[in-house]
């Protein structure tokens, strides 16, 4: 007696999925669409397309939950009629998802082993409808011609479709004189109607040229608007990656539709930020492939939106080096693309960077390679000084108690810092100069480096952080002067606290020390073996192998891009290569810590010895 009950419970669960009123609504819709063929029915169908898809999905689930076709037909007697009508609606059958769901519903109604007349009839009907859809020709004249001319139907229909796309594309190309009479028929009226008709065709590759033309047509007339449903359909097709448009059409889509642009930026960030161990070159490649730098160079509006997204991500993920790295590389790619377009556009730099302090704009955007090396120091001192003044202004503003001016001050400071993040090549140069230059005043450079990592002066800790930065520098400086071999263990050990963030005190970002460390390892006069030993020891104890490797790779990229032809360049590159090898081995070893701990030490020692041998040659 307990057995029948679970079945009933299942049925009760299945019922709320579909109500009869909804079925009636959609059937009435299908009837209306089938009767007339005006532009209004066209519009109505395209408007309802996405909801219809949802309903079909519900129907499909319902059909699949039923135990037999008889049961389905008993519960939903209107189902057959409804599906039948939809089969002859070209808007539904042209749409990839609509067609798929429709056919799946039909298959759901097919019975492998029909048990009664209803099921047998259903089977016959399904076969008939599908056969008619695929093979029947409603244009008798066309059929006669096909037979006479010896052209197969598939080829004929494809030719006609391509011709239509060609003709419609030409129509869109016609510009109108919008200053004319409002009552006069404007060719731009076509554009809205065409975009509505293209709603079911957004994922169809044959329609791509037409869709591209719609997106890229210059908006000269008030009436040349694209349908919102069209843009929404494109946007969802874009996010499910079913869109097959050419580059410029995608850029135009971004211009038209904010949400598709946002999706593009967020998916790019997701892609580049989750991949660990990717090189700066790979990052550049990924950014270029996304088309966003190119699009930003062509349209300053796109650049502004991308940067707004960057700003909010940066604010959420404070101290995240990889985000900053992405922003820097993106800006770099953008500038390169802009340089390519320079002769074509006349949009000023200010349009691209409206919120950045104008006095800092050109100084920061100019790349180090565009300036003679001996000027770098002076330039950086100036930059550091300007930024320092800004921070002092902001802090004074705080003390004023005037909330509006302090907010403005904060804003100005944030924008200056953001610009610095975009142009972080100068920070990299600052670190290099800190390591390579003589005993001149290191203050401004250290300040810049600290500011980059700690823009806000929360709790007025900046002074303290600066002191720590100076300490780190001194520490490293003396460490790399030591020539005793092997290195006393205590020396690298003392650096480790500076490389691990301490939550209690206002700690210095470990990246400050790490960047100094890597630069010292590369540029100091310490022997390669010595530098390697120091680097290895420090990095091993602090556990920052990946981060150190990343800093090293960025350094290498900057140097190769800058193409400094100094005689020193060769030596520097060899050192970088050797240090990279060391870090790679360390990384590999760290993956299997339990297995060959003893082996690691001997391995690296032999490695160091081979290096010693090669350098002595």
């Amino acid at each position: 007696m307990s057995q029948p009950q679970p079945l009933i419970q299942l049925q009760l669960v299945a019922e709320p999925l579909l109500n009869v009123q909804e079925m009636q609504f959609w059937l009435d819709k299908a009837v209306t669409w089938g009767q007339a063929d005006s532009s209004d029915t066209q519009k109505d169908t395209c408007l309802h397309l996405s909801r219809l898809r949802d309903f079909l999905q519900q129907l499909l689930t319902h059909i699949n939950n039923m135990s037999s076709t008889t049961e389905t037909m008993t519960r939903l007697p209107l189902l057959g009629q409804f599906l039948g009508r939809l089969c002859w609606n070209p808007y539904v059958t042209a749409d990839a998802t609509g067609r798929r769901l429709l056919f799946q519903c039909l298959w759901g109604l097919y019975s492998e082993h029909p048990g009664n007349a209803v099921e047998r009839k259903a089977n016959q009907w399904i076969r008939k409808v599908l056969c008619q859809l695929a093979t029947e020709e409603d244009d008798a004249a066309a059929q006669a011609l096909m037979k006479q001319m010896g052209v197969p139907p598939k080829e004929y229909h494809l030719k006609v479709l391509r011709k239509m796309v060609e003709l419609l594309q030409k129509n869109i190309g016609k510009s109108c004189r919008s200053l004319g009479d409002i009552n006069q028929r404007c060719p731009c009226d076509n554009i809205l109607a065409t975009s509505v008709a293209c709603v079911p065709l957004v994922t169809y590759p044959e329609a791509a040229p037409l869709i591209g033309a719609l997106l890229q047509q210059p908006v000269t007339c008030v009436r040349a608007a694209l349908s919102e449903d069209f843009l929404d359909a494109l946007s969802s097709a874009y996010s499910s990656q079913c869109l097959c448009l050419e580059e410029q059409a995608v850029v135009s889509l971004w211009c038209h539709n904010l949400s598709s642009l946002e999706k593009a930026v967020l998916s790019l960030l997701e892609c580049v930020l989750t991949k660990t161990g990717s090189t700066p070159q790979k990052l550049k490649q990924q950014l270029a492939q996304s088309l966003l730098p190119k699009a930003s160079a062509q349209h300053w509006t796109i650049f502004l939106i991308v940067n707004d997204i960057f700003r909010s991500i940066l604010k959420q993920a404070e101290g995240n080096e990889s985000v900053k790295c992405v922003i820097q590389t993106f800006t770099n790619c953008f500038l390169q693309e802009r340089a390519l377009l320079q002769h074509q556009t006349s949009v000023s730099l200010k349009a691209f960077f409206p919120q950045s302090p104008q006095s800092l704009l050109v100084p920061l955007l100019t790349r180090p390679s565009e300036m003679p090396q001996d000027v770098w120091r002076h330039h950086l001192n100036w930059l550091s000084g300007s930024l320092q003044r800004l921070t002092e202004e902001e802090e004074d503003g705080d003390g004023d108690g005037d909330s509006s001016s302090s907010t403005r001050g904060h804003h100005k400071l944030f924008e200056s810092w953001f610009l610095l993040v975009q142009c972080a090549h100068w920070v990299q140069v600052a670190v290099q100069l800190l390591v390579t230059s003589g005993p001149e005043d290191r203050g401004p450079l250290l300040w810049l480096l600290t500011f980059y990592h700690h823009p806000t002066n929360r709790g007025h800790h900046r002074a303290l952080q600066l002191v720590r930065a100076k300490d780190a520098w001194h520490h490293l400086h003396s460490l790399f002067l030591v020539s005793a071999r092997p290195l006393p263990v205590s020396l690298p050990q003392s650096l480790v606290p500076l490389l691990s963030p301490q939550p209690q005190q206002p700690s210095l970002s470990p990246y400050v020390t790490l960047k100094l460390l890597v630069n010292f390892a590369v540029f100091s006069h310490q022997s390669l073996s010595g530098s390697t030993e120091i680097l290895q020891a420090v990095v091993e104890r602090s556990g920052l192998v990946d981060e150190a490797a990343c800093v090293l790779r960025s350094l290498e990229l900057r140097l190769t891009e800058g193409s400094c032809l100094s005689s020193d360049a060769n030596r520097v590159h060899l050192r970088i290569k050797a240090l990279q090898d060391t870090l790679t081995h360390m990384h590999a070893a760290s993956r299997y810590p339990t297995e060959n701990q003893t082996h690691t030490h001997t391995h690296t020692h032999t490695h160091t010895h081979t290096h010693t041998r090669t350098t002595q040659q």
Partner: protein, 338 residues
């Protein structure tokens, strides 16, 4: 050649089996692919040899034999002609889909809706056809009404290609005419569509000598087909008539002849106070006729003088009265010179 004939015969047998035999029950994806592969092969044979009379005749003979033997095996067998071979894949598909023994799994493969059409892949064969046809239906309301539709343009091109092929072979004119006539017959009930096809064909750009020959042939044919010509002149939108008259001198002359015929068929109706054609043949009004003449002058201004001279001569032969309602030619002249 023997191998080719054998393959042709086998494929035709395959078509019969696919359409009428229960053997299809055992077909799987591989069998299906192979069947379509052979159908494609036959289509290829057609395109290679349909302009080669000798080989074509040999193949037709083979088909006759194959048809004979198949007729003996399958009751109600429909014969396959050589021109049917051009649509071999379609015939195979129709046969399969109408065969009640076709397993549903095979149908599912044909109607599969996942992703792009791979060249020569049987999966989704029907789904792609349906998508293409539906897209055409979706886009066709958008095409400009004053222009030739996309389908007429494609059909026009097809017609021109066929004519070029026939004429380059040195086919007898009567046979070529027969082809065009059968197209006309096939378009029975869709005279408007046929006119558009002819218009499209006549407006294809002259790229080669072969095309010029085909255009000439078509124009000569048109001049003999008074009904079609008349229908074209009365039904086509003015911009298209202008284009035709601009491009082809023969058409211009034919057009003028049609206009004269229409005028000569008109009688003055006292009740209506206007010239009109006989009740059984109301194609065009006097007003419209005047507009047609003006169109002709627009296309070829130099023609105006000659036409007016001729109209005047005809008016004179009618008695040369300046009273309205006595001579259609006189009234025409005054309407044109208003």
């Amino acid at each position: 050649m023997e191998a080719v004939l054998k393959n042709l015969a086998s494929t035709v047998e395959l078509l019969a089996v696919a359409a009428q035999s229960g053997v299809v029950e055992q077909w799987d994806k591989q069998t299906l692919s192979r069947a379509f592969h052979w159908a494609r092969y036959c289509e290829h044979l057609f395109s290679r040899f349909h302009n080669n009379p000798a080989i074509r005749t040999t193949m037709e003979k083979q088909l006759q034999l194959t048809n004979q033997s198949l007729r003996a095996v399958f009751p109600g067998y429909t014969e396959v002609s050589f021109s049917d071979i051009s649509r071999c894949q379609h015939l195979l598909l129709v046969g399969l889909l109408k065969n009640p023994e076709l397993p549903i799994s095979i149908m599912k493969i044909l109607f599969d809706t996942t992703k792009q059409s791979e060249y020569q892949d049987v999966t989704g064969f029907c789904s792609h056809i349906i998508q293409c046809k539906s897209a055409c239906k979706v886009l066709s309301p958008l095409t400009d009404l004053s222009a030739i539709g996309a389908d007429a343009e494609v059909q026009g091109v097809m017609l021109m290609e066929r004519l070029s092929a026939l004429l380059s072979q040195g086919t007898a004119a009567c046979h070529t005419e027969h082809i065009v006539n059968s197209v006309l017959q096939g378009c029975e009930g869709a005279a408007g569509q046929f006119c558009l096809v002819i218009t499209a064909a006549l407006l294809t750009t002259k790229n080669s000598a072969a095309q010029t020959a085909s255009l000439d042939f078509l124009l000569d044919w048109l001049q003999k087909e008074h009904n079609v010509l008349q229908h074209m002149c009365s039904a086509l939108p003015t911009p298209l008539i202008k284009d035709l008259a601009k491009e082809h001198l023969k058409f211009r002359h034919a057009y003028y002849d049609v206009l004269k015929k229409w005028a000569s068929d008109m009688d003055y109706s006292i009740n209506e106070g206007e010239w009109a054609q006989t009740i059984t043949n109301r194609t065009v009004s006097f007003q419209r006729l005047t507009e047609h003449f003006l169109t002709l002058f627009e296309v070829c201004p130099s023609l105006r003088e000659d036409v007016e001279k001729e109209l005047n001569a005809l008016k004179v032969s009618d008695g040369d009265f300046d009273v309205r309602g006595l001579s259609v030619w006189g009234d025409l002249l005054s309407a044109l010179n208003k």
